[in-house]
Symmetry: C2
DNA sequence: CGCAACCTTGAAGCGGGTCAATATTCGTGG
DNA sequence: CCACGAATATTGACCCGCTTCAAGGTTGCG
């Protein structure tokens, strides 16, 4: 990971005010810590922006970090036997990935950026140390485990039932919701295919079809927009 | 749940010797406790055998128990909007279900016995109390969360890819492995269908076909047996 | 015995897979 | 700036597996 000062403590970073509402601080893992503990914690936390395709960690790795998503989206890719790999779930703002590292286990999947992401990297040693003094932190971690379960199960129920059309609609709506109706990344057809469980060709056909039906269209900046109302009718 | 004395402490129960290797005691949640703590814990733990179709708990419930599987298998059924329900994962010997209760959240699914099951029911208050004195217990719980993730993800990779034939073969092999090649329950076609993600008719066709091909057959006691070798070739 | 629940089997249709050809985009170097 | 090539996207044709709808068959229980 590129060396960047944790910008939550960097006066020069223009985004600093957001630190007050940082996912790390207010909503997720460290919600239960005192201000003093937070200050101490931030020193060990690395932060940075990553472009699509950057790999936060690889399946089998044991680097010993957990990652908190502040913006963007990562896919969790499971490499099965025989070169086949499936996207088992997606993670968004406020979610923690790589939790298995807290149990001293190797990463079960690779985490790859799907949409430009702002991510904090936290050493597991720090989490362990804090958890000793804050039993409540353990429950925050378990809560994050439940979030992962939610993600993978919604993948089953939403993205794996119904026609390909319905599944693609769900996926687009999900991206739309997570970006406040602003920017849906124009994913590779291969990624779309991996997520909704069809072949690349079918994903392409579906996207082309959606575009013809004006359900999605390109903004000047290469981002997608969608007609959420219309998409909802397809689900 | 029927009132039964926890038979781990019942001298008259013929299965008592097994208590030494009880899933509760040796492998799962309470592996980290001292003997004295175990004794105290067992007083609050209820245990019993349950037949297929018995519902351990219902989606949305808040009874405040976690359940440890000692034998058998339960399906986790998620009721989605509009009467449709999907089987999101299976749990077997040694696994803990209903973990969300530890976070004071309602059960996210219904847990229904699929194969005659020996189950221990543990109040969350007991777990919380023990966790205060044993920080390590929290990690055991997180580990169980990972087991659930494993279960649901293996459902995605194993039981949701390939032809229906391959998926059914995987399912049978899974039951076979978990019962030491002894007893596969003769599941309802509807359950099979829900697990491998096909219609009831297709499940029936597949099972009938497997039977004709001598891949599975009935034992006198209404249990199934399978030719594991042959099934493995279909995956 | 008779009903209800479950299983089996058939026929027709379609969604998506597969294989293959062409188009588009984009980075790179001349 | 354009030409070229690699990666990605689009589209077509054909086929197979599963769904759907429908009709028996089987099991088990009151």
């Amino acid at each position: 990971m590129p060396k960047t000062k944790p910008y939550c403590t960097d006066e020069n970073w223009h985004g600093r005010p957001d630190c007050q509402h940082c996912a790390v601080r207010s909503s997720v893992l460290f919600a239960v810590l005192t201000d003093a503990e937070i200050e101490e914690a931030l020193l060990a936390v690395q932060n940075g922006w990553f472009e699509p395709d950057f790999e936060l960690f690889a399946q089998g790795g044991r680097e010993g970090y957990v990652y908190v998503m502040r913006t963007g989206c990562v896919k969790m890719v499971h490499a099965g036997g025989g070169g086949v790999s499936r996207i088992v779930r997606l993670h968004w703002r406020g979610e923690v990935v790589g939790l298995e590292a807290l149990l001293n286990e190797p990463y079960r999947h690779s985490a790859v950026v799907l949409q430009k992401a702002d991510v904090c990297r936290i050493p597991v040693s720090l989490v362990h140390a804090l958890a000793l003094r804050n039993p409540e932190l353990s429950y925050q971690i378990m809560r994050q485990g439940q979030v992962s379960l939610d993600a993978v199960e919604s993948g089953i129920t939403d993205l794996n039932s119904g026609t390909g059309e319905a599944r693609l609609a769900q996926l687009l709506l999900k991206f739309n919701a997570h970006s406040g109706g602003q920017c849906i990344p124009d994913l590779l057809r291969e990624d779309i295919a991996g997520i909704i469980g069809v072949t690349t060709e079918t994903a392409s056909r579906l996207m082309a079809d959606f575009r013809r039906r004006k359900l999605v269209w390109n903004e000047e900046n290469r981002q997608l927009r969608c007609d959420a109302e219309a998409l909802r009718k397809l689900v």
